[in-house]
Symmetry: C2
Subunit: 134 residues, 2 copies
Amino acid sequence: MATMTAAQRREKARAEYDAFIRACPTNQLLDRISDKWVSLVVAALAPAPMRYSDLARKIAGVSPKMLTQTLRTLERDGILTRTVTPSVPVRVDYALTPLGSSLALLLTAVKDWAENHFDEVHAARERYDEETDR
Amino acid sequence: MATMTAAQRREKARAEYDAFIRACPTNQLLDRISDKWVSLVVAALAPAPMRYSDLARKIAGVSPKMLTQTLRTLERDGILTRTVTPSVPVRVDYALTPLGSSLALLLTAVKDWAENHFDEVHAARERYDEETDR
DNA sequence: CAGCATCCCCTGTGATACTG
DNA sequence: CAGTATCACAGGGGATGCTG
């Protein structure tokens, strides 16, 4: 295998690259938790379990569709549990799993960072815009 | 202003809601840093400053367009600095600011979480799919 | 109450090609 | 090397209406 055309080498590199991307857990999971709604849902559930309508109210701005979609993927990923109480009317509770709680710790830290450093970011933006705008 | 039609009341509520959303620093910043490319760029720059082409190579999968776009917004937000050295060929270095470094700490933690818990998430997914698929 | 189904638009994103 | 410009596309996400 000492001989290999440039095309073959390129193809090999590409194949390895693709495998790397698919195999790379970081990118996969990072993509999922780098989601607006994921952050908000996990943060909302961090203090205490909540019902569907509580979440809808607390997150304010989320459509039923996105809320459900987000909750389903998070349930699938073992981040939270979905508990249906078959009363009338139905009652559905969502709660973080231990896994979800460990993630919530980090996302809450990020959220706190955003709150604490908003001033600096805002100031930086104004400076930048002033120097740039025209 | 005791009299107000339903439409007016709705419009007022909407205006207040919009103002609330815009005023809320958490959502604004959270949205920005809850971005795939932001995470990757900040993580890439955390160990050491890098040049444009270094970033393009390290991140692998990002288009020039998205890379530039991401770098610009992060520069605007004071997360990183852009330094042009007018040699031939041109050389542009990107480095995290102290503000950016503090954020990098958190995002790196999230990245590590993703790496360390991928197995659990993956297992949860298989369990979920097995119970659900039909 | 807690959804699911459908429609549909619009923007973010990627590919490609060109420039200082 | 470090971008910018243009185009074309997919699909994210909202609105609406219906159900167990």
